[in-house]
Symmetry: D2
């Protein structure tokens, strides 16, 4: 959907890069297109033909930003692309990525997914030495660090930079004839390597490999620096191992169901959530349904495990666009039905079970449930396929633009009343972990249990560079 | 979906109108938005404040054509809106509707859904008397006929006009202070009347009433002329009754599942198709699935009747836009996966049953089935929830831009081979009729059985005014 | 200048047409571009390749409306183009010309310059017979009349039409393989015929011939119908001669100085106005100047005849655009200087004589003169190179959007005071006539003397079809 | 004119700034609009309300870039604006000015007019210390230098920066609550200070003061640093005096005739050039004329001194826009007449003298002269109101995009033949200097005599940072 639902979490970014392919820009376009769900605010592609570096960035969606004519100007066999959703609230073109600078007359670009927890601190240091900045992004800080030690060579420079920065980061750096993929030592965010003809591709998710016909090779390892250049591929791995902390929310929410993330298929993971939900919370209802598309796969899992009929009881309007006009005050209830219209004939007098993947602020759910009751549903129950979200994320997810995590301040019973449900339950955290193939101590579950794997900046709270 | 799938049938139009509401234009905007699936080529709204008539029309989708500023200029309490998909192949702004003319210094506008079978004949007559035309649309012919007898009053004039025109037509005519709804005597296309506050609304489908919060009152009756003006509502019904011929394809395909059409809920009709399909053709497979969204509801019906697990085995990219760039020749297989990506981990080594709502040319199905086999599906079966389409439609549906109805020239076995399936079957026409609440002799089934309720123009074949 | 100066007269239109040239549309584009000064509101080109007729029209200036891509779609060797400034106040795309209709499946287009005085009357007649209209333009009335008698052939039909319409009209009608030029029997507005390679061109002014490299042949004669088709060129001249009435304002104001109009060069005519002004009104001043570009040529004539130094004492900003932002209330005096800035060092303490080509409302002149006095000009005198405008025009010139002809209600002395001048005089009408090569009884001088050559519609006053 | 004439010199920039006015952005808009002739490639405005800094920049002309809505978002009482024509050939938005960076969380912006001759050298030094760049502009180098020493305070930092940079520069730097105007010690480019209500304005030329109603106070002195903040105005002047080098081409060509530059009125200077030209080169011709608008004022001066009649013998099309379509190959001579059409009736059989302000490549002149001869001018003579341009400029003027100064390689006689003239002469350099009020040793005449006041970068030739 194009419009922004304030009641859904927002991701930082998607990255896609190509090394050694004659249609690098076009492949990157398709790759970004497959990753569009990871960022709808701006997109950009930087391309190098070994001599010249060209770029195109703009606010908006990938298919609106690029056309044949623009792609044709982006000549070269190395490309780096990025889609972005701001984690800091400032939606400006200057913050669109890849971020590109000139160093010694050469172009260095970066595409970044994640959030550094000590960026502010480093920035202060750099400024005290006379550095000036264009943006408020972490990525610019990273490039300043790289430039400071560049005389020792790009490789050493990146090792030193990784020694300074802390937090969640999967990033790709493009110099004129080199592509470097870097993943933080905890492995918060995904980043995959693939093969396409005689070239290489890098992507935040494997679904982009499917689209361009690339073959998945492996994940970039936590802490790894992968350098691809004319000499081939070279990997630098950290001496010290850090505890892993794969973001569970990538599996629950961000990744497309047709992607594999942390070596696990997302569709099957989500169905398993539903199966475990059926095991933990059997319900006596006439039918069950998701709101498209948030709980689709858990709903399938629950239906297959329980035998309760699955219905698609609310119909989505496929033409919802970004610029949709707001109903007038006197039409204020339209909002509910613009995107989703419940099928009255199906739901009237029925006991309905809704399967949801998450509740952040609870306001959208409340409106939708009211809509179901207005058309005559007898009972409305809800099951959420993960535990309550009680803690903010410092590693790149913006759970709520207003900091209003309903579960941070309300009990489940209070949430049930707020939304207007007959019953409400959340999957137990143990069952959530059971649904994954990842060991519990290699997951970041901080949004559920408050245990942050990497301590945050002294400035505390939500990290924000905005003046 | 924004892009045009050449392998799906195309509808002529959707109509929405409002009488006596201070926000007539905005309501109409929302109404058209809910009817967008009936026409994506152009849209327009004409509004009257009793004195002045204003309009805005453009090529494209409703949310792209109108914005707050434009809607604010469309002042008045009577409005007529229209979304159009051309049945004649000419996509020009001049053909966008509502079509508006000046007669005796007054504005008369028309929104039309359907296809006249004797428009060419009437046009020739009019031209021989010196009439000049702006467009090639049926609607202009209708307004010329109305103007010819206007001196006897609008009411008589419309009765006379209906005596001349033949074919499928649901239309709304707006004079400066009057709204007139007309439906052809056979009732081919739907048209409903609703109530909103102290005003009236007219819509092609009831889902638009849900969105604007209107209450459905009744269908405009076949042959009825409904006049709404300051004096209230007045109905003129034909003396003679014609045989009814409700278009079955409205139920099978065009209408939104949350609409009621011909007094029947579309969602429930489609599930019933699936249930009867399960009864007629039981299959021994591991899972069943639709391609979103063409066979969704029949698939639910089949799954519930058979107990076979339903899966959403192909993932749709929600960001597919109209201007999507074509993959290069070397990337030609991308096309399959740009919109829909199958979940490899789910489908590999499985026996898969696809439920489809129709096969027109068969080319899209062929590409998709190939995609399933490439990722390792063991067997792929297909069931279609209606009989084979063997005959063209003369009443407003453009089954194929190239006239290539695969079932018109190929046997079911040949189609199965063409698409590359393990098995293929179609719902029997008797079962299709059983799924409806409409008696068989009140349905138009011409696309399946070739029995056309209204004989077509002497010029034969597809009606077309294009030079 | 792009922006609209309310204090300048507005012309109806410019016409340009091409017969038999492979680049007809592109030539027409250039022709309209040269005629842009005759209409800045909308422009359009209709082209025929003998089979198909294509068109492009839009609001705005010629170079903004057309680009290479659009011109390439306008294939054909016959073209008709039009630039328009509305005389009726309604600025809608539907009123852009050429106006095109379908008659008997064929395209007939018209480009019209002038104003009919009995259009309303004819329109009423047509409506009483059931005719419907798209626009409020005279041109549509003309095409209805043509269609009514079309069965007798295009030629007869046009003769009959000319028998019905009265007023000022130069027009070109384009059927699929024919171009017909028509000029009213009084010859109010210009229309010229030229030769280009093996084809013909028609233009409102000869300056367009210069631009496209065409050779001027002759003016279309008053009352002439010139038909150009495959058979060659054929001329139908009226039996009866009407008194000629060439619009003096074409020479004074509308035509470009590099055009010849009514067989007279405009530049030389205007210099002659200045020379006669010097003869009639010698002035003892330090310098003389025009406001660019309204009195340029008369100023040259005056300077050469008198020996008084000519200066370009106000500097024009060449970048004034249509969308110029208005100064705030507190900056209200900006308006004067945005377009024209006087050169303080040149004008301070000087006795200045301004040469103007006309004063309509007097408000712009007043503001400008105030500007001159503010920077220290000692005396400011003005001479106008024609008599005072006392009467409205019924033949296509909109002297003022508010009907405020200052000379209609004020004496010259009152105007002098209103504008704030030391002295003010107007060229005597006899001198104005002396400056032309046209006999006095072949000129329309109605705006100066109120003698209208063609009586106007019974409805009286300013002709207006707007509801 | 909007389109770019390759045969005219190009200026770097215009600057306009406002301190302490509630409508700072709107005033700056008007100021830039008056300075549009100094740069048509891009424009930008940065505004500070003391707390937040906002900006808007884009490619194109001022009235196209800004509208009411955008200006309303630019809130604040301090503003800095800039119009730019690239001297380096790269026309990218990233190079649009003002250039803005963040330093220690605060915004610092710069608007720059001129060209540094040692920017490349400084850039290399900065890069060796790890600095990264966004652009190839001098302005970014300046801001890096400022940031390096910022800890010592903005004032000291700017003094140190001016100690490092060499060349031509007039610039304005805007910190959040301070405006700093700086002019290089030689005074190459103009920069003026004015007063408006209780605020201050800075402008490249005085014509912008006229438009906004500001009062001219004085020029920023060569080498001066003027700091305007809450404490008032403070001036830092260099201890050492450098030889002055005012660019003569500002008077000859760049500045608007209604501006005063280097304390001299431009209009009067140019008329004086014409008067001296008449003295130096009397000609026996029938008339003299400029090509609008390049030699207008010198032509006036010549005409008044000689008594030869001045004519405006070529008519300009006021609607020439940026996107003008090129004539086809077969119409290749159109180019001459699209902008300027000679008046045949005036010039035929005449001996014509053209007054020009400069000849750079000579190609445009050649085409125009051919046009005059084609319409029958008997003799065409030309006088140029300055000496031949023989040397490139290193201080910000791009005389020719291809480095083709015709006078660098051809004698006057060869140029005469190339252009196709009966005679050609250039004003003597002594007469040029006589036309000014500036002593000869305070002028930069390098483009005529090759004596460069500031030695250029070791890299030699045209300064260029482009990779």
């Amino acid at each position: 959907m194009y419009e922004i639902d304030l009641d859904r979490p927002k991701e930082a970014c998607g990255i896609f890069a190509v090394y050694n392919h004659p249609e690098a820009a076009k492949l990157t376009y398709f790759g970004l297109y497959a990753l569009q769900h990871r960022g709808q605010e701006s997109a950009g592609i930087v391309v190098s033909d070994g001599k010249e570096v060209r770029e195109h960035k703009a606010m908006g969606l990938v298919p609106d930003i690029f056309d044949e004519q623009i792609l044709e100007t982006l000549k070269g066999s190395i490309a780096l692309g990025h889609v972005r959703y701001s984690t800091t609230g400032s939606s400006l073109l200057v913050n669109a990525q890849p971020f590109r600078v000139l160093y010694a007359g050469k172009s260095v670009s970066i595409g970044h997914n994640g959030n550094l927890v000590n960026a502010r601190e480093i920035r202060r240091e750099l400024e005290s030495e006379g550095s000036i900045f264009q943006t408020t992004m972490d990525s610019e800080v990273v490039l300043h660090l790289v430039a400071k030690t560049m005389r020792e060579g790009l490789e050493k420079s990146i090792i030193k930079t990784m020694g300074k920065i802390r937090g969640a980061y999967s990033m790709v750096i493009m110099a004129e004839d080199t592509l470097i993929a870097v993943r933080d030592p905890h492995g918060f965010r995904p980043l995959c390597l693939g093969r396409l003809d005689s070239g290489y591709v890098l992507s935040s998710e494997t679904c982009a490999f499917d689209l361009v016909g690339a073959r998945y090779m492996r994940d970039i390892e936590p802490g790894e620096i992968l350098i691809i250049d004319k000499a081939g591929m070279k990997s630098i791995r950290p001496e010290k191992r850090f505890p892993l902390a794969h973001c569970i929310f990538e599996l629950i929410y961000f990744a497309r169901p047709d992607s594999n993330v942390f070596n696990q298929n997302v569709y099957i993971f989500r169905k398993e959530q539903g199966r475990l939900l059926a095991e933990e919370f059997p319900r006596d209802v006439d039918l069950l349904m998701p709101f498209p598309d948030s709980g689709n796969y858990a709903a399938l899992g629950y239906a297959q495990a329980s035998g309760i009929p699955l219905e698609m009881g609310v119909i989505r309007n496929h033409y919802v666009g970004r610029t949709f006009i707001q109903p007038s005050q006197s039409m204020r209830d339209f909002g509910i039905r613009v995107k989703l219209n419940p099928v009255r004939e199906l739901l009237r007098d029925k006991r309905v079970l809704i399967i949801e993947d998450s509740i952040i602020r609870g306001t959208t759910a409340r409106t939708r449930i009211r809509g179901l009751r207005e058309i005559g549903a007898r009972e409305v129950h809800m099951l959420v396929s993960c535990p309550p979200h009680r803690f903010p994320c410092h590693y790149g997810i913006d759970f709520s633009t207003r900091g209003e995590l309903i579960a941070a301040t309300k009990s489940i019973e209070e949430i049930r009343k707020f939304i207007g449900l007959h019953s409400l339950d959340y999957l137990h955290i143990d069952n959530l972990v059971r649904a994954t193939t990842v060991p519990r101590d290699e997951l970041c579950l901080a949004c559920f249990d408050g245990e942050y794997p990497v301590p945050i900046d002294e400035s505390g709270g939500k990290f924000c560079l905005e003046e």
